[in-house]
Amino acid sequence: MNVEIAGVTRRFGRNLAVAGVDLETGPGVFGLLGPNGAGKTTLLRMLATVIGPSAGTLRLLGRDPASYGPRREIRRRLGYLPQSLGYYPGFTVAEFVEYFALLKEMPPAGVSAAVATAVERVDLGGKARAKLRTLSGGMLRRVGIAQAIVNEPELLLLDEPTAGLDPEQRVAFRTLLRDLGQRATVIVSTHLVEDVGAACTEVALMDAGKIVFHGTPAELTARGEGRGTGDAPLERGYSAVLAQARS
């Protein structure tokens, strides 16, 4: 089990962003679906150890992120792509990925090989020494994915990773996800339902800070039979579950 969370809640002032979440997951690709404001990003931020929970327990990669030492160990084995990632305009693609490889305390001897691998994996090999300010939005997103995977993380957290990617790139990305999910726990937060169906082995649906569905994509599809609205089976399952949760 790479992620074990029990009864986790998170408030911001009076706003209850995450209202009691229980989750356990091991290697594989885990999709986190839900409308905007459902608490997906907040949950991901807690998993990325950027913020701590208000209540509940969190165990990541077998460690407790509340203390400095274990948190540092978790962070060395973590990959995180925030929803909006700024970039350093004067850096090149390779420099940006290398910077975060160093901040993740990768052994310096292996950094250049890891950077090359990550950059090629996101298909930016022809742009490795281009300055970030010359890249399009989709390319910048791929740079973000590259820095997240550079240290071959055991826990990979991706918040809306396919924003700005064209359909062909999204297909390539799903292949990458399946590949990474062989050994690591990959948690992808997205509001694009099709992204999830193709690559994820497990899916959770969040609404108003709670998990209202947790199962396989097939089970989600089944929930939508004859009930939900939408063009694709998974979308119908999604809307059916949401409707039920809100009634």
Binding site: G125, G126, K127, A128, R129
Partner: protein, 183 residues
């Protein structure tokens, strides 16, 4: 961009051009080296070759084909590699030993065989007239009369085909065209 332009770009520090060159040339270089080296050794030599291309692109003079220049670098890297590792790295040590005649560097000899194999392949497919003449006259060392007999053509034709084959081989070895004739 053609090869010469790519190499000029590499000389100017363009790593994307190097990547493009790699995509175009690494496959046939790998095939040619594979006849002499094991697969992992081919990988090591190819890596050193393209690093040498990166460092030495400024030294390229566009008076010969780019493929030939790159093969020259690959050949030198392979020779260096083999000298470091010793003759045991060679795939066909028995062949070379049996050949016996090669005074001097077995590494060079093996690479010369790779060169030759590539040039012979440029003569055409195995049953083409030039290849057959080459095979019968120079590899199997038969007299002109016998070759004429076997191929069912006059001796004069045999001689002119042999002459043409030699001329083409010389040009191929000089220009070192890659297999298939693609430039």
């Amino acid at each position: 961009m053609d090869d010469a332009e790519l190499i000029a770009a590499v000389a100017g520090g363009d790593d994307a051009a190097l990547r493009e060159l790699f995509g175009r040339h690494a496959p046939w270089l790998a095939a040619r080296l594979r006849s002499v080296l094991s697969a992992t050794d081919v990988e090591d030599v190819l890596q050193e070759t393209f690093l040498a291309v990166w460092r030495g692109a400024r030294g390229y003079r566009p008076d010969g084909p780019a493929a030939g220049w790159i093969w020259g670098i690959a050949r030198r890297q392979a020779a260096l590699f083999l000298r470091r590792r010793g003759p045991a790295a060679l795939v066909l040590p028995a062949v070379i030993a049996a050949d016996g005649q090669h005074a001097g560097d077995p590494a060079d000899a093996a690479l010369s065989r790779a060169d030759l194999a590539g040039a012979v392949a440029a003569l055409g497919p195995e049953d083409s007239p030039d290849r057959r003449v080459w095979q019968l006259m120079y590899v199997e060392d038969r007299p002109v009369a016998e070759v004429a007999d076997l191929m069912g053509i006059p001796e004069g034709t045999v001689k002119s085909r042999a002459h043409r084959a030699r001329r083409r081989l010389r040009a191929a070895l000089r220009g070192l065209e890659p297999e298939g004739g693609t430039r």
